[in-house]
């Protein structure tokens, strides 16, 4: 019968297209294939995260497509959060759709969860995703309550002043202190103004 022949042709075509689909992988260009070596390079050359000061600059300059995601619990989020941030659980981050041209910044309380969320999103093929390395703590320490040594050399003073201005933009309270070491002894890394100075020099601007 004519119908039977048509059905056989369709069934064969469906099987062939289905089998080829396995080889083709995914129609989404970004693809789910996880290039672990590439991720490792991004981590080691430090292009995986932003500092709190960089993030503050992005927010102030209204960087296009910026989306800030807070993955702390909702109680902490209700209490206070980075301006413009939305709260999502790690589960939601894992599946939430991401549009082209969006830059995503993740943060958690300390930084570990945000780093893990970064891996989730990168492994989904999302390109422009960063995490706040020191978490919300870093935001509070470096943007909202930055402390600068009174006796800083003049070439570093300029960087500090711009950070202080940024801090005031967000309603922060920058302070000059005599000894940075004592005040910040619980902070693991170097203060972000130092990192910012280093980066600025590295770029040669």
């Amino acid at each position: 019968m004519n119908d039977d022949r048509a059905i056989r042709v369709l069934a064969t075509a469906a099987l062939a297209l289905g089998a080829l689909a396995v080889v083709a992988g995914s129609p989404r260009k970004s693809g789910p294939a996880l290039d672990v070596a590439q991720l490792a390079r991004e981590v080691s050359n430090e292009s995986d995260h932003v500092t709190a000061v960089e993030l503050a600059g992005w927010i102030r300059d209204r960087k296009a497509g910026l989306r800030i995601i807070d993955i702390r619990d909702s109680a902490s989020f209700e209490e206070s959060h980075v301006p413009g941030a939305v709260r999502q659980s790690l589960d939601e981050v894992a599946v939430a759709p991401v549009k082209d041209g969006e830059t995503i910044v993740l943060y958690s309380g300390g930084g570990a969860h945000a780093a893990q969320a970064w891996v989730l999103l990168r492994s989904r093929g999302v390109k422009d995703v960063f995490f706040l390395r020191g978490g919300y703590d870093e935001w509070m320490d470096e943007v909202m309550n930055p402390r600068f040594p009174r006796n800083a050399p003049p070439e570093e003073r300029a960087a500090m002043d711009s950070i202080a201005a940024l801090s005031r933009y967000f309603g922060g309270v920058p302070r000059n202190v005599d000894s940075l070491i004592v005040r910040n002894r619980d902070h693991d890394g170097q203060a972000s103004w130092k990192a910012a100075v280093k980066r600025a020099r590295g770029r040669g601007c």
């Binding site: 119908d3 048509a6 059905i7 369709l10």
Partner: protein, 168 residues
């Protein structure tokens, strides 16, 4: 009255229709969404303020709270037109009640209304029906749509033995 077409070929045609909806309209097919839109419009005429305050109906109204003509409503009008033309050309237009031999027209119509009501509630909770969830979401490999397909068919098979009198 001509015999119905081969189910696989009709299914293939239906699949192409669904695909063209994806390609040309950027969305899938639906039916329960049209009912929701019509229900929202009815409610908006009867009780404008309460309807605008209703989270479910509000999304089917225009920004000003007026009834809006939804894409799915026009699509469902198309379904009625297409079904009518197909049946007319095949000589299958027939006024009557379809039921099993052991049940009265009245009982059949009562069951049909009740079943429709249950499907209405189910479609609201599941955010779609056989068209919007099963066909559309199924083809897009949505996890919730496949859960819906599984749950709906499992429940229908479990309920069927109790309804034997209505159909056989």
């Amino acid at each position: 009255m001509r015999a119905y077409s081969n189910p696989y070929l009709s299914g293939f045609g239906l699949g192409l229709v669904l695909l063209s909806a994806f390609v040309f309209a950027g969305r899938g097919l639906g039916a329960s969404g049209a009912f929701a839109s019509a229900a929202a419009a009815t409610a908006a005429v009867a009780a404008p303020d309460a309807t605008q305050a209703n989270d479910y109906f509000a999304r089917y109204l225009s920004a000003s709270g007026k009834p809006a003509i939804d894409w799915l409503v026009i699509e469902l009008i198309g379904v009625v037109v297409g079904g009518f033309i197909s049946a007319y050309l095949a000589g299958r237009l027939r006024r009557g009640v379809e039921k099993g031999p052991r049940i009265s027209n009245r009982s059949r119509l009562t069951l049909a209304f009740a079943g429709g009501g249950a499907m209405g509630l189910g479609a609201v909770l599941a955010r779609g029906c056989t068209s919007g969830q099963a066909l559309t979401g199924g083809a897009l490999l949505s996890a919730g749509s496949w859960l819906f397909i599984g749950a709906a068919f499992a429940a229908a098979y479990l309920a069927a033995p109790f309804l034997r009198k209505a159909w056989t």
